[in-house]
């Protein structure tokens, strides 16, 4: 069953994020994807996440499609103007991509081409409106298309440090939903109670929420994130659990697996992010019981 059908029938969906290579050697990506084929419902391909130059999300999505794996590709406004974005979306549909997520696109300054000129011709709402327009058969210049694409369209919510920031995110998410977002990928969850209250607050949005499960790879990473990214709400208890484990790497995988299992009660899916440890995805799925 397709991701779109699962989503609309209320089934729990499992998504795994996989980055494209920085170069043309796709062997690792393909090997990792094959390992989880049939165990995840779709693979999410970021659009040069963190502003790092890589093979495009569309390229990665097509590779997944060739492997018989459904893909969800990110599209962001940082690197392309409205012509290029629309052209890419038309190409994506024709090449078999059925799902897109309108992503924020991190600041160029954080990436590896920090001297590049960001585009940002449209913003996320503008891009969602563009997708809707293309689906209705008209481009942003008002010109009729010869055949229109169909996508299941998602958006993201940024991590929130407190209730005030969350309210702002939810207001923005409301606009994104009105502009055409059919599901929302939410920030990494490390605190189930906090996520439960988020779910309550986000209910009026009326679209499926797919929380991110982020694999903490070490005590160092957990500590770093807890200190520098308070919006991730990583507790001392969690850090201490990793620190005390005899096999810390395995403990991190176990934590991610447990998180996936717990989220099954609260959300309509999970989006597993391993940032370079995609080979560990099968183990996370094992520990999740999925």
């Amino acid at each position: 069953m397709s991701f779109q059908k699962q989503l609309s029938s209320g089934e729990f969906v499992v998504l795994a994020e996989m980055d494209t290579p920085k170069g043309v050697d796709i062997s690792e990506l393909i090997t990792n994807a094959r390992r989880i084929k049939g165990r995840v419902d779709a693979v999410v391909i970021p659009d040069m996440g963190d502003g790092m130059m890589r093979m495009s999300a569309l390229g990665g999505g097509v590779l997944m499609h060739q492997q018989g794996i459904e893909a969800i590709i990110h599209v962001c406004c940082r690197d392309r103007n409205r012509l290029a974005l629309q052209a890419e979306l038309l190409s994506a549909h024709v090449l078999g991509i059925q799902n897109v997520v309108v992503a924020r696109g991190e600041e160029m300054a954080y990436g590896d081409h920090f001297d590049a000129k960001p585009v940002n011709d449209l913003d996320e709402i503008g891009l969602l409106q563009a997708i809707r327009s293309l689906q209705e058969g008209v481009d942003l210049a008002g010109i009729e298309l010869k055949g229109s694409p169909i996508f299941t369209v998602g958006c993201t919510i940024e991590p929130y440090v407190d209730d005030k920031a969350l309210d702002r995110e939810l207001e923005l998410a409301q606009k994104k939903v009105e502009a055409g977002a059919q599901f929302i990928i939410t920030p990494p969850v490390f605190d189930m109670d906090l996520f439960a209250s988020f779910v309550e607050k986000a209910k009026p949005l009326g679209v499926p929420l797919i929380p991110t499960v982020f694999l903490l790879k070490s005590v160092g990473i957990a500590r770093y994130m807890a200190t520098t990214l308070p919006a991730y709400h990583i507790s001392e208890e969690l850090i201490s659990r990793i620190r005390k484990a005899s096999n810390r790497e395995l403990e991190c995988i176990r934590i991610a697996g447990e998180m996936v299992a717990n989220l099954k009660q609260l959300a309509q899916g999970v989006h597993i992010v391993t940032l370079g440890w995609e080979y560990q995805l099968p183990s996370i799925l094992d520990y999740s019981g999925l």
């Binding site: 600041e107 160029m108 300054a109 920090f114 001297d115 590049a116 000129k117 960001p118």
Partner: protein
């Protein structure tokens, strides 16, 4: 200078619809030079607004003021004795001035009466043209004193492109090809050799692309 043009009066009237008493504030600097928002334009707009209001059966009380520089807190402070009597401020300064007034008087609506256009120079009486985009890393020393960022339609660092014909840009016969101008200028200076140098891809961080910019002069900052 920063150039500007007055907004259509219909748009200004729409902003002012809820108010019967406003403070109309001009600026004695750039917008005076480009005849968009100086003392004279303040007086003209004031009359036009009041007449338009009377036509619709209402009145509009306008207090006119023109500050020395609206982008400077020291001068904006001069509004302090008049701000309370006004329901809103209509600013005829560039976007910098509008924002400075809004920053100083946080509970007062401030509306722009002009569209800020570009940093430019006066070509002749009544004609201003774009000359600088404030990229933060001036190239004029390499290009004979003519800016390809501000004056080439494609911002080419190594031009011209195929759209250059008889010294004009393909976007309009009114627009000079910046790279034709650069070539002619380098030739006149005997610096043709410089044209052969390739200018590397620009680091846009110094421009607006690196986010909103600020200059802090430690020797002057208090």
């Amino acid at each position: 200078m920063i150039t500007a043009e007055r907004k259509p009066i219909e748009e200004i009237l729409e902003y002012l619809e809820p108010y019967d008493r406003i403070l109309l504030v001009g600026c004695n600097e750039c917008v005076t030079v480009c005849a968009a928002g100086g003392r004279k334009e303040v007086a003209l707009l004031s009359s036009a607004l009041q007449m338009a209001r009377m036509k619709s059966g209402r009145t509009l009380e306008v207090r006119e003021m023109t500050l020395e520089r609206q982008c400077d807190p020291e001068y904006v402070e001069e509004l302090v004795n008049f701000i309370d009597q006004a329901g809103a401020v209509l600013s005829m300064a560039c976007g910098c001035g509008v924002q400075e007034v809004a920053r100083r008087f946080k509970d007062k609506p401030v509306f722009p009466a002009v569209n800020t256009k570009f940093m430019g120079a006066s070509e002749r009486q009544g004609v201003w043209a774009e000359r600088c985009q404030g990229c933060g890393d001036c190239l004029l020393g390499l290009t004979g004193g003519i800016c390809p960022i501000a004056r080439c339609s494609k911002r080419l660092l190594n031009g011209p492109c195929g759209g250059s014909t008889d010294g004009k840009c393909e976007i309009s016969p009114e627009v000079d090809c910046a790279w034709q101008l650069i070539w002619e200028r380098l030739k006149a200076l005997g610096l043709e050799k410089r044209y052969e140098d390739i200018i590397s891809a620009k680091d846009w961080r110094t421009s607006r692309d690196g986010g909103p910019r600020k200059i802090v002069r430690e020797d002057l900052a208090s």
